[in-house]
């Protein structure tokens, strides 16, 4: 393949560096400096995609982020697949592989074209809803093929080999866009000393200066851009971010910038020879001031068959010629309502190709560019427009006709001009996207025929984004606004840079023109596309208004106008103008359009950054973690903690199942001695003269008389009377307590205590500190616990001296320790707390002495079985935020006669919390001992009742007990405590029904003697 459309000279490409690439399976060659789009045009590739809905062939229509057609799937390997890349924004690199995302199985022969032909030439809005609705069950099947046919791109099926990251940034002035306004603004602000970040989405900074015909200070405009970029690059207070799109503007001047660091070099960082480097980066910028200098996008005109390859926006012609040395055709017709489009005619003619005519809708255009075109011998047809393009795979001609824009009719005879390219220009739309991301509505300006940004606090606008288009004015505006932003950021001396000299051009005013009338009525004319990416036609917009959709927001949703990945950058204003015409209203009357982040698609990699794989969520390990790993523990996630779940052994060469391991661990605790790493329990150190009073207010039970050396179990409610956490609190000294919380509740409880102290009772002198990580906790429990403990501690373990719910200070394995006689198993238990860094030593000493007692490590699963056998609850498992202490049968832990109305007390007498038939905690014993009820299973009284059955409660905890040799469960059951001995039923999803007897929650040792041996 030769580059038939490549000029021999000109452009900002390096003709000495040839890059080969593959598009839709075909090999091509381009040059360094090309985009994929410019390289395709250079090679004369007309059809790059099939359209979304009608499956029509589509070519490249623009040169920037507004491109609606050339959406490609990028990547040579499966792992490197990237969907939804705009060919106009992808730098060409050697070995690039891409294919059009639309048009499965190929863009030339499209299996979906039958859909476009269905129902004749017209497929109305809502077509998919209306056609593929029935039967509803088939939608998933239809959708699969529709999506594939429509080609919305696809995610890779292999893991991304690259790394991405985030960078938090701060600056005084963030300038978005490095065109004339942005460069001038950045320079003004930087020279004043402000810390400036300047970002631009393109490969090269300079924006419109890079394809401008104008000169600055007598030199080409691009030379001025290069000079300013060089100066900025040399300033220490300036960060330049090329290939970086400001994608989202968020509250309080927080802006997300998507920087592509290696994507212009290869499809992976390794492929670019930059293995291990970051492929894309998300900058999270908190800016003092933001200068939005995002410029404008040229609007195409809406005429019949305006989607046939060879139809482009006029400005893109100049970009391809002047930046890439590519003329995308032989014979050009231009259709315009403004002077700027004449640039394309002049550029085209200077490139040595034929300009057939410039068709201008205005009666008497007389601007400098118009005169220049006339002087160059270009035919100018006034008061007319291109009504229709002819051709299918490529434009073959333009039907030109005189029009009356007021009455929206054609007024003359149609003349057909032979051509292969039609460039249209309907004026410019400021790129207001970021200014509307926080909800500020853009404002319509009749003089500009476009929306400009509404006022946004902390944001300044420079250049085209607020309708300043002439080069000289843009530079002045940028310079002023840059200085203004710097001053607002505190650099009071900031002054505008001296603006270089630019020749002032005379311009004739732009006329308001969006859709070109056709000789046939709108609904019968060939398709006039408004939104090329989503295949929305002028007729569809008109039909929507006839069907009663009057607000543009509704029209958009009905027709899908602007809902493509291009967010309707080209089509939105035209669509609004058409809706306005049909409704006989003005454009601002049909509504404004608000954009949402992101401005262009952002890869998931950049969004995720380093928060993936092992770093997805922090993991917390106890001081004994390594021992658990070495001893083969299976782990369970509890909050962010990794807790040993069970410790499977090898028995007769086979690894125990969880069931076997848990049964063995349970029996070891009930018959000998076991040990649990309980370090993850939340621990809060509470000190102060009012600590005791405070405890009395946040716990339901009494704390006034708890003596130093004693421990008490406490329940904590919210003010609605519902249980939120439980745990033991020990009195370390008169004004000093140690509170334990559930593992998952630790942070929440600390904040809860602070909340009440800071907002309700600041007069109480009390201080809270989390000491969870400072102390490691080891629970030694079982009938042999005392024997084992006596070998390692100097504490007097006599049962009269060291009673249940006492704690003592002493040495364990030679290390200072606090030992608590607390039991969560129902057996004799000692909870040893030592400084975390001593924990491994103590743990190993216990095992050295414990070998003769067969000291058995157990995990959370065994802990759950043991505590459930004793009817001890786990907050969050047996409770769910709707359970009161009374529901749990814990009347004994509620101090109704305490002097201060503690948190939750008042709510317990509300009628609903005092009801007799509330769900209450009970035990369930399955009639068949082999059955282990499902946790969450619903309880009914009558299994024969028709669905919906009356549900009486549900199972909260259920296990197999090796001691009972039976399944057993805890459950909440309406009026449960009055149903002891009754039989209840648990229907399962497979149709079986289990029977269970309602019993006490305590299954083992109801008198609690075992923990007191």
């Amino acid at each position: 393949m030769t580059q038939s459309n490549r000029l021999n000279q000109g452009g900002r490409i390096d003709r000495s560096r040839r890059l080969s690439f593959t598009f839709n399976g075909q090999q091509y060659v381009g040059f360094a400096g090309d985009t994929l789009a410019s390289a395709l045009l250079a090679n004369g590739v007309d059809v790059v995609n099939r359209s979304f809905k009608y499956s029509r062939p589509r070519g490249i229509a623009a040169a920037g982020p507004e491109e609606p057609n050339a959406i490609v799937q990028l990547g040579a390997s499966e792992a490197a697949q990237v969907p939804n890349v705009r060919a106009t924004q992808q730098a060409l690199y050697d070995g690039l592989v891409a294919r059009g995302t639309n048009g499965w199985p190929s863009v030339q022969r499209d299996v979906m074209s039958w859909v476009g032909k269905l129902g004749g030439s017209f497929m109305p809005p809502g077509f998919y809803y209306k056609t593929f609705m029935a039967p509803a069950s088939m939608w998933m099947t239809y959708e699969k093929f529709i999506r594939k046919g429509a080609g919305l791109g696809r995610a890779p099926t292999e893991a991304d080999p690259d790394i991405y990251d985030h960078l938090n940034q701060h600056c005084d002035v963030l300038v978005i866009g490095a065109g004339p306004a942005g460069l001038a603004a950045a320079l003004s602000a930087a020279r004043a000393g402000a810390r400036v970040i300047l970002c631009d989405e393109q490969e090269e900074m300079g924006g419109s200066l890079l394809d401008s015909r104008e000169s600055i200070d007598g030199a080409p405009a691009s030379a001025w851009a290069e000079q300013v970029v060089a100066e900025l690059a040399g300033l220490a207070n300036v960060t330049l971010l090329p290939r970086t799109t400001a994608n989202g503007y968020h509250d309080h001047n927080f802006v997300t910038l998507h920087e592509r660091r290696t994507e212009h070099l290869a499809d992976t960082a390794a492929g670019a020879g930059r293995e291990g480097e970051v492929r894309a980066r998300l900058h999270r910028v908190r800016a003092g001031r933001v200068v939005l200098a995002s410029g404008s996008h040229e609007r195409p005109l809406v005429y019949a068959n305006n989607d046939v390859p060879g139809n482009l926006v006029a400005g893109a012609i100049s970009v391809y010629i002047r930046r890439y040395g590519v003329v995308p055709g032989q014979r050009l017709v231009i259709s315009t309502n403004n002077d700027h489009a004449y640039r394309a005619a002049l550029d085209w003619q200077e490139a040595g190709r034929e300009v057939v005519a410039v068709v201008d809708s205005r009666a008497k255009p007389d601007g400098d560019l118009v005169e220049q075109a006339r002087d160059a011998g270009i035919r100018v047809i006034t008061g007319s427009a291109v009504m229709e393009a002819t051709g299918s795979q490529r434009v073959s001609g333009a039907k030109v006709v005189a029009i009356d824009t007021e009455r929206f009719v054609v007024t003359g005879k149609v003349e057909t001009l032979e051509c292969d390219t039609i460039a249209s220009s309907g004026g410019y739309s400021p790129v207001v996207h970021l200014a509307s991301h926080t909800g500020k509505r853009p404002q319509w300006r009749d003089d500009l025929l476009g929306f400009v940004p509404g006022e946004v606090k902390g944001m300044h606008f420079a250049g085209g984004v607020h309708g300043v288009y002439a080069l000289g004015e843009t530079l002045t505006d940028g310079a002023d606004v840059g200085a203004e932003a710097a001053r607002a950021a505190g650099f009071e001396e900031a002054a505008a840079m001296a603006v270089p000299e630019v020749e002032v051009r005379h311009e004739s005013p732009t006329s308001a023109l969006y859709q070109i009338p056709h000789e046939k009525p709108p609904l019968r004319a060939p398709k006039q596309f408004v939104d090329l990416q989503n295949d929305v036609t002028a007729a569809a917009v008109e039909l929507a208004t006839r069907e009663g959709f009057e607000s543009i927001e509704h029209v958009k949703r009905y027709t899908a106008l602007g809902f493509g990945t291009d967010q309707g950058k080209l089509g939105n204003i035209n669509g609004m103008a058409i809706a306005a015409r049909c409704l006989n209203r003005s454009i601002p009357e049909v509504g404004t359009t608000v954009f949402r982040p992101n401005y262009t698609p952002v890869s998931f990699g950049a969004i995720v950054g380093r928060h993936c794989r092992d770093l997805f969520d922090p993991e917390r390990y106890t001081a004994l973690h390594q021992w658990h790993v070495e001893h083969g523990a299976e782990f369970e996630d509890v909050g962010q903690w990794k807790r040993p779940w069970y410790f499977p052994r090898r028995v007769n060469g086979k690894r125990e199942t969880m069931h076997e391991a848990v049964a063995r661990e349970c029996l070891a605790v009930r018959r000998g001695v076991g040990i649990l790493d309980a370090s993850t329990l939340g621990k809060i150190d509470i000190q102060g003269p009012d600590a005791r009073e405070f405890l009395g207010r946040v716990y339901t039970n009494k704390w006034a008389k708890l003596a130093p050396g004693r421990v008490r179990y406490g329940l904590m409610c919210k003010d609605d009377g519902m249980l939120m956490d439980d745990g033991t609190t020990s009195c370390l000294a008169e004004n000093h307590f140690l509170m334990t919380t559930t593992t998952g509740g630790a942070a929440g409880v600390l904040e809860w205590l602070e909340l009440w102290h800071q907002t309700e009772w600041p007069e109480l002198q009390v201080y809270f500190n989390s000491v969870t990580d400072h102390w490691a906790t080891m629970t030694v429990t079982g009938p042999d616990a005392r024997k084992l403990m006596s070998e390692v501690t100097d504490i007097d373990l006599d049962r009269e001296q060291f009673k249940f719910m006492d704690w003592k200070e002493g040495k364990v394995a030679g290390v200072p320790a606090r030992v608590f006689r607390i039991s969560f198993t129902g057996e004799l238990a000692f909870e040893i707390n030592v400084q975390a860094n001593y924990a491994m030593h103590v743990w190993k000493a216990l095992f050295a002495h414990g070998e003769k007692y067969d000291l058995t490590p157990y995990g959370t699963e065994t802990m759950h079985v043991l505590r459930a056998e004793k009817g001890l609850i786990i907050v969050g498992q047996d409770t769910d935020g709707s359970v009161t202490p009374e529901d749990l049968g814990m009347h004994w832990a509620v101090g109704y006669d305490k002097p201060f109305s503690w948190i939750g007390q008042r709510a317990l007498t509300r009628p609903d919390t005092a009801r007799e038939d509330r769900k209450q905690l009970v035990g369930l014993k399955p009639k068949d001992p082999k059955v282990v009820l499902e946790e969450g299973a619903q309880i009914v009284l009558d299994p024969e009742q028709k669905i919906p059955m009356t549900m009486m409660g549900h199972v909260t905890s259920s296990y197999y007990s090796p001691v009972l040799e039976s399944g057993f469960a805890l459950a909440v059951l309406k009026g449960g405590r009055n149903r002891m001995g009754e039989t209840v039923y648990l229907p399962m999803s497979d149709g079986t029904v289990h029977q269970a007897e309602v019993v006490s929650t305590v299954f083992i040792d109801p008198k609690g003697e075992r923990q007191n041996v």
Partner: protein
């Protein structure tokens, strides 16, 4: 993402360090036993949901761990002021327009004032240790 001036740290910090904690200036009845069920229910469950000026309690969870109040416009997400526990807002729905016209921004280019009127000084007194 909000940029929040912590009235205790006296610095702007990112929202990630903070945590919202519901409506500000809720008054827990001093003697819960003496209020009706309905009054207690109102205190427990009923909250304002205004469009516009709202006073909210936030906590500097990953900072100084202090609770404080924010006056925020729920329509624009603008934070108009932050103030300490026990202080009253200087901007309210009743006077918001006036205050805006007077220009309530601080001079440092930021958005929030820390002007507030102490009502209950004991809340800010450091307790002796």
């Amino acid at each position: 993402m909000f940029h929040i001036f912590c009235p205790y740290c006296q610095e702007y910090r990112e929202e990630e360090e903070f945590h919202p904690s519901g409506q500000a200036h809720l008054v827990r009845p001093a003697d819960p036993a003496s209020v009706s069920d309905e009054e207690w229910g109102d205190y427990l469950f009923f909250r304002d949901n205004p469009r516009g000026i709202h006073h909210e309690m936030w906590v500097h969870r990953l900072g100084c761990r202090k609770f404080f109040n924010i006056t925020r416009d729920t329509a624009t997400y603008e934070i108009l002021e932050t103030y300490r526990m026990g202080e009253q807002p200087s901007i309210t729905a009743a006077n918001a327009e006036v205050r805006r016209e007077q220009g309530v921004q601080t001079a440092d280019g930021g958005w929030q004032t820390v002007g507030a009127q102490p009502e209950n000084s004991r809340l800010n007194e450091e307790t002796p240790s």
